[in-house]
Structures are given as structure tokens and as C-alpha cells.
């Protein structure tokens, strides 16, 4: 789906109360800008596309409103107003200076284990806050993790989040297949919406940690050309556990990452808090 683009000049006219610094990468549903308010605070303004699925947006807002954690993006304002035929529909979030994790990761360049432990334990703290709000993010991937200049990760983009205490938006029993396949858990390929829970996010976290530790993803490889091949690897293959870069890791790291990448949810860690604790414990190993 094509990104929703609002030209910078048009955005300036629509939101004269903000000083526009630059346009950020838009998504299909939101045009994003780095702006400053009148007090000089750096913010992220997201203009919602007219065709945005209203109910899904409401879920995102609800998710963000219930979260207040340094490793999760903070919602500052949500406005949907119509005055004199002039509609304004936007979100203001905390602006997170820095880069996407996607821009930091380099194929074939593993991080040190101390770096992995420090970074991903903080990210796991954020995920635990998400879990405590009964939310599943469902789209954990490098593009949705901002990295502050001091190296702190911040989880962003709750556009696909699901609040477990509320009925899912998908009306059919299907509905697991939402998100980014490279970071899919087995239940996102083969399960139903009932199979999606916090541990689905932990599987994606496991992929990210595996990539950071070994320099390469556990399941995807360059010769794959179809989603079916990826599905087969994620749902059935154990090859990732035999790759030399993984085998060379110290045992506690192999145990943790192996558990995160278990096919069956019951065998993954119970929650991200557990993962954070273990990462801090084994960080020096």
C-alpha cells in the first residue's frame, strides 16, 4: 500500500501552531513530521489519512494512552475535529531523536553480548509494560524500534496492536496474519487470532536478539523467494540452532534465545520481564 504523503507546505498550513523541522518516513495511514511546539518541545506529528480505519486507530490510541514507560513511545495528544468543513485528525507523540534500529543493524556484523544485553533488556522492559497493559504489539521489527542517541531503545508504532481485553477487530477466526512476515511467530502464519498473545511479541524479540548476536536472521536467508519458504522455516525448521555463529554462543545465551524462538508458545518465556531479568544476569557472560 502506498504511503500517505502530505506535502510539507500543506502540513504547515494545516498546523500553523507548530514549527515544522522535517518530514519523516510516512506509513500507509499516517504522514509524519518532526515538529516543535510553541514552547520549543520536539514532537512527532502524525496526520491521519482520510481513509484510515477508525476503529483500528481507536485501538492504537487506547493502547498508547494506557502506556507510560521510557522504552515505549509516549502519546501526547490525539485530536479528531471538524470545524467549518475543515477537518483535523492527528496524533502528537513524543519525538524520539536518533535512528531506527533498522539503520543501525548491519548484516554480518554482530553486536557484543554486553551491547545485546543492555539494549534488549531495556526493550524487554518496554515490552513488559506493553504486556501489563494487556496489549500485544504484533509488529515488533527494526523499523518500529527507535534508538535514542544514548542507545536507549523505544518501541513505536502501535498501529497493529491488539488490546487483549477487547474483542479483536477481525471478525473471522482467522486474523493472525497481520504484521511483518520476517518477524512472524509460527502462530502468525498458522494460528488463529486466539493464538496471538504476548509471547508472539517475544518470538519477534528472539529474532531481533538472534540477529544482533550472530549478525544474521535465524530463519530468513537470501535464497528465499516466497513467504511459504519463510513459513516453513519459522514453523518447522530448527536449522537456526545449528548455525555456527549461534552454536558458538555461551550456553546461557543459547538457552534464552532458543526459548524465545520455540515454536510452541508455552515453551517460550512467560513474559518480557523474565527475558529482561535473564539478559541482565547473563550480560557479562
Amino acid at each position: 500500500m502506498a504511503p500517505y504523503v502530505v506535502p510539507l507546505d500543506q502540513a504547515r498550513q494545516m498546523f500553523p501552531e507548530y514549527t515544522f523541522v522535517r518530514a519523516l518516513t510516512p506509513s500507509a495511514q499516517k504522514a509524519a513530521f518532526h515538529v516543535r511546539d510553541q514552547a520549543g518541545h520536539n514532537l512527532c506529528l502524525k496526520i491521519i489519512a482520510p481513509n484510515y480505519e477508525r476503529e483500528r486507530l481507536d485501538r492504537e490510541i487506547l493502547a498508547l494512552q494506557s502506556l507510560n514507560h521510557p522504552n515505549v513511545v509516549r502519546l501526547i495528544e490525539y485530536t479528531f475535529s471538524s470545524r467549518a468543513g475543515h477537518q483535523r485528525h492527528f496524533i502528537v507523540e513524543e519525538f524520539i531523536d536518533g535512528d531506527d534500529l533498522k539503520d543501525i543493524q548491519r548484516p554480518g556484523a554482530p553486536w557484543t553480548r554486553a551491547e545485546v544485553a543492555r539494549f534488549f533488556s531495556a526493550l524487554a522492559d518496554g515490552l513488559m509494560a506493553v504486556k501489563q497493559s494487556e496489549i500485544v504489539h504484533r509488529d515488533i521489527k527494526p523499523e518500529n524500534i527507535r534508538v535514542r542517541p544514548d542507545g536507549t531503545p523505544v518501541l513505536i508504532d502501535f498501529g497493529l496492536a491488539r488490546h487483549l481485553a477487547l474483542p479483536d477487530l477481525t471478525n473471522t477466526i482467522q486474523g493472525a496474519t497481520i504484521g511483518t512476515p520476517l518477524y512472524f511467530a509460527p502462530e502468525q502464519f498458522d494460528g488463529t487470532k486466539y493464538d496471538i498473545d504476548h509471547r508472539t511479541d517475544l518470538f519477534a524479540l528472539g529474532i531481533l536478539i538472534y540477529e544482533a548476536l550472530t549478525g544474521n536472521p535465524p530463519f530468513f536467508h537470501a535464497t528465499m523467494t516466497t513467504i511459504a519458504q519463510l513459513r516453513q522455516a519459522v514453523c518447522e525448521s530448527e536449522v537456526h540452532l545449528a548455525k555456527p555463529a549461534f552454536v558458538a554462543l555461551p550456553q546461557p545465551w543459547k538457552i534464552l534465545v532458543g526459548r524465545l524462538l520455540e515454536k510452541e508458545r508455552s515453551k517460550r518465556p512467560a513474559d518480557a520481564g523474565q527475558v529482561a531479568t535473564i539478559l541482565r544476569k547473563i550480560g557479562a557472560i
Binding site: Y194, H198, I255, R259, E264, R265, S266, P269, A270, I282
Partner: protein
């Protein structure tokens, strides 16, 4: 959840439990509304707490439409109904359910709320959803009372028949945002389970739950509890007779007011050396002195049996509970599940050896009391060997 033996109440056991607690046997008590009317439950809960025990109330929704006069003394029983009816319960009724659950747990001084749950069955999404809803209600109650919530996971036979089904059900059940697990496993109809595969699956399921890092109370374990610390359990439910040793839904389907079986059957002496029973005195007198000394493992409740006097059958139940509780207390002191699994294997190996000596002496014990020890040993060994990654993970969690 306190680590050690938990008394699984039922079948007129309330005084027995108090007596055991006075002896220092057991760390907690699970009250059974099926067997104890509410006024009595309040009275005994206070007594157990005064004796230093934690108390839990198991509302026993396993077979949710079962009821009896004692259950009816709890207001929550008005909401007992079949699964399909419960699945259609209105939000207003669910609020009433929560109210009653809160009042019962508060007044009984429960140290955690056990979430009522129906026995899990294969392919029954309606049961998953119902249990999730009941758990949500229990969680809200526990949050109000500022105590933990333990999800009840009772795996029915349709689930336990297959590893794949069991794994799938456990994945859904462990999605509940619980602080611990109250876990039971439905075996085939036997006094004690003898199938190596079934026992291995029970241990595997328990180990999966333990690997969540949350405490596991192995309910209705009885003598099988010898294996529970070996799969990472925190508490073991035990009782004085086989109705409390094993989970069977017949217990919640039979007519109310039954007095239990046994009739004039002679007492069974539970021997920790045999890890099983031997009939007193019919069989024990046939053992030579050395073997008898080895088999008649003592407790404060078997003095008569040790001295060859008449031994009331009721005392054999007390003896059984005491032996189990003290053995489990010793194992509870060891925090390492692998070490406890090995200790169980060693004890069962010893039991197999003594049983062989008894048979060599020409005595063939009744009740098929020697058929399960070797299979339990093999099942525990299977788990220890086959699930070593889980034990590694438990080590990492400690």
C-alpha cells in the same frame, strides 16, 4: 506459594488435616466446598491459619453443573451450570460471580485466589474461552484482595492422550496472566497411574508450567507427588485416600452424600521404602523380620502397626499423609528440580528392589501395588533426559 506439601481437603479430612498441621506436616491447605459446608469451612480455615498454614479455596468448577448440599451453602453455586450456559452468562451475572468469589476468599482468608476452571478438553475452544473469562473474574477479585491469582489447569484425558494436543492446550492456558498454576492431570481409572507414557506426560506438562517461572501447585498428586519437585513444582496436593490422590471427574459426578468406599477392608500401610501400600496385618506378617523392618517405615501414627497391635484403618490414612508430607518436606528443602528428579528415581529404584525381594520370598502383594514404581522411575528418567533444555532454563530462572 509456600513450598512443600499441601493438604487437599475432602472426604471428612478436616480434623485429620488439623492434626497433621499440629505435627508440623504440611505448609498449606486447599479447602473443598464439595465436602465442607461454608460455616464449617470458615471455622476450619481459621484453625488452619492459626496453625501456620496458608489456605486456598478450590471452588471446583471442573464439572461445572455438579452440585450437592454442601456446595449449595456457597452462594457462588447458584451460578453452577453447564459449559454452554456458563459461556452465555451475562456481564451482570459475572459481576455477581466475582462478588461471591471475593466474599468467599476474603472470609476464608485465602492467600491466593484459585480461578475456577472447567477441565480442559481437546479441540474445545468454548472451554478455553470460558476458563479465560472465569480467570478474568478471579484476577479482578485477587487484585482487589491484593493476593495472587492461580489459574486452574486440569488436563482432561482427551488432552493428555497426545503430546501435540497437550502442548497446544498448554500454550493457550498459559496465556492467562496468572501468578501461578493449580495443576491437575486426569489419568486412566486406576488407584495410582501405572502408564509410563501418561506419567511422563504429566511430568512434562508440569515442567512446562514450571518453566513459566511461576509456582506450580500439583493438585491431587498424592503419592505421585514424589515426582512433582522433580518437574519443578512448588507445592504438592495430598490427601488420605485415593479420591484425593488423583483427579477424576467422577468425583464431581457421583450422587451427593456418599460415605466413601472401603467397607471393612483392612488398613493399607503406606511404606516410603516401597513407595506404595501393603495390607496390614495380612501381608506384613508374612514378611521376614528384616524385610518387615525395612518396609514398615515409621510415622507418629503407626505405633500400633509397628508393634503388631490392632491398627485402625483411619490411622492408616493419617500415617499415609504424614509419610508423604515429611518426604515432600525433605525434597522441598532441595531447590534443584534435577536433583529432586534424581532423588525420586533413586527412591523408586529402591522400591523396585524391595518389591522384587518380597516376590522372591513368595509373597505377591494385593492391589497391584507394585505395578507402577518402575514405570514412574522410567517416566521421570524420560523427562530428565528428554527435556534437559527445560531444566537448563529452570536453572537460568533461579
Amino acid at each position: 506459594m509456600r513450598r512443600g506439601a499441601w493438604h487437599q481437603c475432602g472426604d471428612r479430612s478436616q480434623l485429620l488435616v488439623a492434626e497433621q498441621l499440629e505435627q508440623g506436616a504440611g505448609v498449606g491447605v486447599i479447602l473443598s466446598p464439595r465436602d465442607l459446608a461454608r460455616p464449617k469451612a470458615l471455622e476450619y480455615a481459621a484453625r488452619y491459619r492459626a496453625l501456620g498454614a496458608e489456605t486456598l479455596l478450590d471452588h471446583q468448577f471442573y464439572v461445572p453443573d455438579f452440585t450437592n448440599p454442601k456446595l449449595n451453602t456457597y452462594a457462588i453455586s447458584a451460578l453452577r451450570a453447564g459449559i454452554s450456559t456458563l459461556n452465555r452468562v451475562s456481564d451482570a451475572d459475572l459481576v455477581e460471580f466475582e462478588n461471591q468469589l471475593r466474599i468467599d476468599n476474603q472470609e476464608l482468608g485465602a492467600t491466593a485466589v484459585l480461578a475456577p476452571a472447567v477441565v480442559y478438553e481437546a479441540g474445545r475452544m468454548d472451554i478455553m474461552q470460558l476458563n479465560s473469562r472465569l480467570f478474568g473474574a478471579a484476577k479482578r477479585v485477587a487484585d482487589q484482595l491484593r493476593v495472587p491469582t492461580y489459574a486452574t489447569i486440569v488436563l482432561g484425558r482427551s488432552v493428555t492422550a497426545s503430546d501435540v494436543t497437550m502442548a497446544s492446550v498448554l500454550s493457550n492456558a498459559t496465556a492467562l496472566n496468572s501468578d501461578g498454576w493449580y495443576f491437575a492431570f486426569e489419568f486412566e481409572e486406576e488407584r495410582l497411574p501405572s502408564s509410563r507414557d501418561s506419567v511422563q506426560r504429566c511430568c512434562s506438562a508440569g515442567l512446562t508450567l514450571a518453566c513459566t517461572g511461576k509456582p506450580v501447585l500439583h493438585a491431587y498428586a498424592g503419592p505421585l507427588g514424589l515426582l512433582s519437585f522433580g518437574f519443578g513444582a512448588t507445592g504438592i496436593g495430598l490427601g488420605h485416600n485415593q479420591k484425593l490422590w488423583r483427579f477424576t471427574r467422577d468425583h464431581w459426578q457421583s450422587p451427593a452424600g456418599g460415605q466413601g468406599g472401603g467397607g471393612d477392608a483392612p488398613p493399607r500401610f503406606f511404606s516410603s521404602a516401597l513407595w506404595g501400600t501393603i495390607i496390614y496385618p495380612d501381608e506384613t506378617v508374612q514378611l521376614d523380620a528384616q524385610l518387615r523392618a525395612q518396609v514398615l517405615t515409621p510415622s507418629p501414627f503407626c505405633t500400633a502397626a509397628l508393634t503388631g497391635r490392632a491398627w485402625p484403618r483411619w490411622d492408616s490414612g493419617k500415617h499415609l499423609v504424614n509419610v508423604l508430607a515429611s518426604t515432600f518436606a525433605q525434597m522441598a528443602a532441595v531447590q534443584n528440580p534435577r536433583a529432586n528428579a534424581q532423588a525420586a528415581i533413586d527412591r523408586l529404584s529402591g522400591a523396585v528392589t524391595i518389591h522384587a525381594r518380597i516376590e522372591q520370598a513368595g509373597l505377591f502383594l494385593a492391589d497391584s501395588t507394585n505395578v507402577y514404581q518402575d514405570n514412574w522411575r522410567l517416566a521421570m528418567q524420560d523427562v530428565l533426559n528428554g527435556r534437559s533444555g527445560d531444566y537448563d532454563y529452570l536453572d537460568l530462572l533461579r
